[in-house]
């Protein structure tokens, strides 16, 4: 019963999908196919990321994270999170557990918010894909505008939101 309750939204959406199938066979089948392929992609990605986060969590000491991206890390810290986001892979929701793990270990909130911003624009595999599909000029404009803007946003949100108000769940 507890299990069913946890998955109540999924169950509702599945019922809606079945409804869609009876309303329009084609659409329902298509929705099913897209869902299955998305879930496959997610199942290929998420467990790997969580194992990585788990390993980092137990092996990397708090002091290291504080030194690399804590309150005192300054510009060096921003460069480190930018590099981290650049070599990353996967959709944004993959970045959330990494971000909260780093926050828990003492990373500064502005650095982590910038990390999320960079994740959405400078990831190398994605940027290469973007260049191939939309051109170098487009991609360079995208990065050149996003990076300074997200840096500014990181400072603004840090000013508004106190770090200790964050949930920072990742294993509860």
């Amino acid at each position: 019963m507890k299990m069913l309750l946890k998955y109540k939204y999924s169950i509702v959406w599945i019922i809606i999908m079945i409804g869609l199938y009876f309303f329009n066979n084609n659409l329902g089948h298509k929705a099913y196919r897209i869902t299955v392929s998305n879930i496959k992609e997610m199942l290929l990605f998420l467990p790997a990321i969580f194992i990585l986060v788990g390993l980092l969590d137990v092996w990397v000491p708090k002091e290291t994270i504080i030194k690399l991206m804590g309150e005192q890390s300054g510009i060096k810290g921003f460069v480190i999170v930018l590099l981290l986001a650049t070599v990353a892979a996967g959709p944004l929701y993959v970045a959330f557990p990494i971000a909260t793990m780093l926050l828990k270990k003492g990373a500064r909130l502005a650095h982590i918010l910038f990390f999320l911003g960079a994740w959405t624009s400078t990831k190398l595999p994605i940027a290469l894909y973007e260049i191939a599909s939309l051109g170098l000029k487009f991609t360079l404009l995208h990065i050149a505008i996003s990076i300074p803007a997200f840096l500014l946003i990181a400072f603004i949100i840090e000013k508004i939101v106190p770090k200790d108000s964050l949930n920072m769940i990742h294993e509860k």
Partner: protein, 159 residues
């Protein structure tokens, strides 16, 4: 980074970790499993919702909405559609290239791609669970503004 390389790295790290400290490795895996099962209900419902949404909002429909001569209305539609949906990047870029070929301007494509990557209304519940309501809403709101800014620049420079 593709999946085989990712898993190879994980496997090597796990092996090294296991050799060095079995208890710590077990703890890491337990944490990983807890995090995974903790977020799975949300992620799963998002996946099913996106499946239904994308079935209705097919690439053909999207290119009709933000295709040829769609102008400012096309830009606004692209910003909104991009903010709501969640499309894997291996679909996003071919789709964006197709949109360009189908006659959409760079501005519409910029609006679509930038909001797709940085604004996620569908993933908002997950983001709130990890951070909190205020942070999640602020991050998405500001990212939306950045997407508009990027779209305006592309419109001026590339169209």
């Amino acid at each position: 980074m593709n999946n085989p390389i990712l898993y190879l790295i994980i496997l090597i790290l796990l092996t090294v970790s296991f050799i060095k400290d079995r208890a710590k490795t077990k703890k890491a895996l337990l944490k990983a499993w807890k995090s995974f099962t903790n977020i799975l209900p949300e992620v799963l419902s998002i996946m099913i919702f996106v499946g239904i949404l994308l079935a209705i909002l097919s690439p053909e429909t999207i290119s009709q909405l933000i295709g040829t001569q769609s102008g400012l209305l096309g830009v606004i539609t692209a910003l909104l559609v991009g903010s709501i949906t969640l499309i894997p990047s291996f679909i996003t870029f071919p789709l964006a290239a197709t949109l360009l070929k189908a006659g959409a301007g760079y501005a519409q494509v910029a609006a679509f791609v930038s909001t797709l990557m940085s604004v996620g209304l569908i993933t908002l519940p997950v983001e709130i669970k990890y951070f909190n309501k205020r942070t999640a809403i602020l991050r998405n709101g500001f990212s939306f503004i950045v997407a508009i800014l990027f779209t305006i620049v592309v419109w001026q420079v590339m169209n």
